[in-house]
C-alpha cells in the first residue's frame, strides 16, 4: 500500500501484553490507521513469548527489553523503561532514514521517550491522555503522585495536540494542566462490532439457561465490583424492577465489594434473582451481552465507559447513569435510557422502561447500533486521527523545525 504519512506510537502495553485499556486502544487505532494508508510503527514493552519485532495487521510492532534495569519502585521503572524505549526507537528512526512524520505517546508512562525523541528528530509529538493521576487518586496527596502529575503536565506541554476520548476528559485535562482550549481534541474511543457478528445467527437459548429461566429477562452488569462502578445502586434497585418485570440480575466481574454485595443480596432475600458469575472469558461475555435484555452501567464516576459501547455493539439495549463519558455516549430516550447517578429509583424506572416494552427496546437497540457505526467506528476514528496528523504537519511545514531537521 502507498503510504502518505507515517507515525511512531509509544505505548507501555500492546497485545499480548494487556494491563488496562491502553493496549486494545493502541491495537485498534494502529491497525485502523494502517488500513487507511498510514504507515504505523508501535514501540512497546516486551512480553514473554512475544517476538521483538513482528508485523500485526500491517502494523510494525517493536518490543523493547523493559526489565533490564533493576528499579526501586514503579515510577523509577517507568523512567528507566523510557530510557531503553527511547534508545531503541532512536536507532529505529535512524535506520528508517528519519522517515517518520509524527510521534504519538499514550499516557505519562511513555512521556520522557516521546519528549526526548521529539527534540532529537524535531518532529511533532501527539499525546493521548487516557487518564490522569489527579483523577485516579482523587487529588494529589504525595510527592510520588505530584511527580507523576508534573510529568503528565510536561507531556501535555510538549505535545502539539492533546487527544482525549470524551468531552468529559477534555475538560478534565484542560482543568488539571491549565491547557489552552485549542490544544485539546476529542477523538472518541472506538468499539469493534465485528467480534459480535459471529454470534448474530447463533441460537443462544441453551447458553442463556445457564444464567436465567426462559421466562426471566436478563439484566446484565459487566465491570469491576468496586464502589465507583455503582453495582450497589443496581442491587438496591432490584425490588422495584421485580415489581414490574420478571427479571434476573447477572453480575459479571470481580472486585473488593463482592462479599459485601452478596451479603446485601442475601439480606434482601433476592439470592434467587441475582447471580454473581465472577470473571468470565471473552466468548462467554460476548454471548451474555448478545442475550441480555438490558445492559446496565450504573457508574458513579466514568471517564469514558467502553462497556456501554460494547453492549451497544452487541445490540443490547443500554441503561446508563448520567455521568462522565456515559452522558455523551447515550442520547436519552433515543440510543438508550439515562438514570440519575446513585439513585436506585431512577435506575429501576429506566430498566423497567426497557423491559416493559419490547417495541421500545428494539427501537433503542437499533438507534444505538446505528450510533456506534456513525461515531465509534474505528475506521472513522482512524480517518479523523489521520486528518489531525495531516493538519499539524501542515502547520509544522511552516515552522523552522521543518527547514532544519
Amino acid at each position: 500500500m502507498n503510504h502518505d504519512l507515517s507515525v511512531m506510537m509509544f505505548s507501555w502495553e500492546f497485545p499480548p501484553r494487556i494491563i488496562g485499556g491502553i493496549s486494545p486502544h493502541v491495537y485498534y487505532l494502529s491497525r485502523s490507521l494502517a488500513r487507511n494508508g498510514v504507515k504505523v510503527y508501535v514501540v512497546t514493552c516486551d512480553f514473554p513469548g512475544a517476538p521483538q519485532h513482528e508485523v500485526v495487521d500491517d502494523v510494525e510492532v517493536y518490543r523493547v527489553d523493559s526489565y533490564k534495569n533493576p528499579s526501586p519502585d514503579f515510577a523509577t521503572w517507568v523512567y528507566l523503561m523510557n530510557m531503553n524505549m527511547q534508545k531503541e526507537a532512536a536507532a529505529l528512526v535512524k535506520s528508517l532514514d528519519n522517515k517518520v512524520d509524527v510521534f504519538h505517546a499514550h499516557d505519562w508512562l511513555v512521556a520522557t521517550a516521546g519528549i526526548g525523541l521529539k527534540h532529537v528528530f524535531r518532529r511533532p509529538l501527539f499525546a493521548t491522555m487516557h487518564s490522569t493521576e489527579i483523577g485516579r487518586r482523587n487529588g494529589i496527596n504525595s510527592d510520588y503522585e505530584r511527580m507523576i502529575h508534573e510529568t503528565e503536565a510536561w507531556l501535555t506541554y510538549e505535545a502539539w495536540k492533546v487527544i482525549c476520548c470524551s468531552d468529559y476528559m477534555v475538560s478534565h485535562v484542560q482543568w488539571a494542566f491549565g491547557l489552552p482550549e485549542d490544544k485539546l481534541i476529542m477523538v472518541p474511543n472506538g468499539v469493534n462490532n465485528e467480534v459480535y457478528a459471529k454470534y448474530e445467527n447463533e441460537d443462544l437459548s441453551q447458553f442463556r439457561r445457564r444464567f436465567a429461566l426462559p421466562e426471566e429477562k436478563i439484566v446484565l452488569f459487566v465491570g469491576r465490583l468496586v464502589y465507583e462502578k455503582g453495582v450497589h445502586v443496581l442491587v438496591n434497585a432490584a425490588p422495584k424492577i421485580l415489581e414490574k418485570a420478571n427479571a434476573k440480575l447477572v453480575i459479571v466481574g470481580n472486585g473488593y465489594m463482592k462479599d459485601q454485595l452478596s451479603a446485601l443480596v442475601k439480606s434482601m432475600g433476592l439470592s434467587h434473582k441475582v447471580m454473581f458469575t465472577g470473571f468470565v472469558d471473552d466468548e462467554t461475555l460476548r454471548r451474555l451481552q448478545r442475550c441480555a435484555d438490558v445492559s446496565v452501567v450504573p457508574s458513579l464516576f466514568e471517564p469514558f465507559g467502553i462497556v456501554a459501547l460494547e453492549a451497544m455493539a452487541a445490540k443490547s439495549p443500554v441503561v446508563v447513569s448520567d455521568t462522565g463519558g456515559l452522558s455523551e455516549i447515550v442520547e436519552h430516550d433515543v440510543s438508550g435510557v439515562k438514570a440519575y447517578v446513585s439513585n436506585p429509583d431512577s435506575l429501576a424506572w429506566a430498566i423497567t422502561r426497557i423491559l416493559a416494552d419490547s417495541g421500545y427496546a428494539n427501537w433503542v437497540r437499533a438507534n444505538a447500533y446505528k450510533r456506534i457505526q456513525e461515531k465509534y467506528d474505528w475506521d472513522k476514528i482512524a480517518q479523523y486521527t489521520k486528518a489531525i496528523y495531516k493538519n499539524v504537519l501542515g502547520e509544522y511545514s511552516k515552522s523552522f523545525w521543518a527547514r532544519t531537521s
Binding site: 528507566l80 534508545k87 527534540h119 510520588y144 531537521s405
Partner: protein, 208 residues
C-alpha cells in the same frame, strides 16, 4: 572541532571537585580552537546562558519539580539535556564532532543522541557507584550501575584519571583495556592528551 561537554556540575554550581575540573578543561579547549559547549544543570541560581572565557555554557532546569529520588530527577532532566544538545546540533549545520559526558547522570541523553544523530561520545569516569556506595546492591544502586554499564558499552572511549580506575573498570565491568585512556588531571600535557582522545573518537566516527 566542535565538542559538547555534558556535566551535572559546573561553576557556580559546585557539588564536588568536578565543576572546577570541567571549567578548566573547557577553557583550555577554547584556547586550542575547539568550539566548546557545556550543557549543565542549574537550579534557578544562575542565568541560562553564559559565554565567558569563550566557553558556550547552557544551563537547563528540570520541568518536573517534585521527585522521589535522584534517579527520577536524573532520568527526567536528561530530556532537557537532549533538547539542548539537539538544538546545538541543528544550529551548527548538524556538525558536532563528539560529546564528552561526565559520570553517569547524562549517559541516557548521550546514548539517545548517539543513536539518533550519530554523535559519538567519550565517557569521562570520575567515580563509580560501586565505590561511592561501598558495594551496596539495592535496586537503587543497581539501577545506577546499569546506567554506568550502558555508558561503558555505548561510549567510543572511556577517559579516566588514574591507572587504578582503569583497572577497577576492567575488574567490575569487563571493559576491554584498550577502550580506557588514562589522562591524569596533574599531567602537564593534559589538554594535548584529551585532544588526542577526542580526535581519535571523531575520526573513528567519521570513518564509520
Amino acid at each position: 572541532m566542535r565538542v559538547i561537554i555534558l556535566s551535572w556540575e559546573y561553576p557556580p554550581r559546585m557539588v564536588g571537585q568536578l565543576a572546577e575540573y570541567v571549567r578548566n578543561l573547557a577553557g583550555q579547549l577554547v584556547k586550542e580552537d575547539v568550539e566548546t559547549y557545556v550543557v549543565t544543570y542549574h537550579d534557578y541560581l544562575t542565568g541560562g546562558h553564559d559565554d565567558s572565557d569563550g566557553v558556550k555554557t547552557i544551563r537547563v532546569t528540570n520541568p518536573v519539580r517534585t521527585h522521589i529520588g535522584v534517579l527520577t530527577w536524573v532520568l527526567t532532566l536528561n530530556q532537557e539535556i537532549e533538547r539542548t544538545a539537539a538544538n546545538i546540533y541543528y544550529g551548527s549545520a548538524k556538525q558536532v564532532d563528539l560529546m564528552d559526558t561526565y559520570d553517569w547522570h547524562f549517559i541516557p541523553a548521550a546514548v539517545t543522541l548517539k543513536k539518533s544523530l550519530g554523535i559519538p561520545f567519550v565517557y569521562s569516569v570520575e567515580s563509580l557507584e560501586e565505590h561511592r556506595s561501598h558495594g551496596a546492591n539495592s535496586p537503587f544502586n543497581m539501577a545506577i550501575k546499569s546506567i554506568e554499564w550502558l555508558g561503558m558499552y555505548e561510549a567510543s572511549k572511556l577517559l579516566v584519571k588514574s591507572e587504578w580506575m582503569k583497572n577497577e573498570i576492567y575488574k567490575i565491568f569487563k571493559v576491554p583495556l584498550e577502550k580506557v585512556k588514562v589522562v591524569s588531571s596533574e599531567s602537564p600535557h593534559l589538554i594535548k592528551d584529551v585532544l588526542g582522545v577526542y580526535k581519535s573518537v571523531a575520526e573513528g566516527a567519521a570513518s564509520g
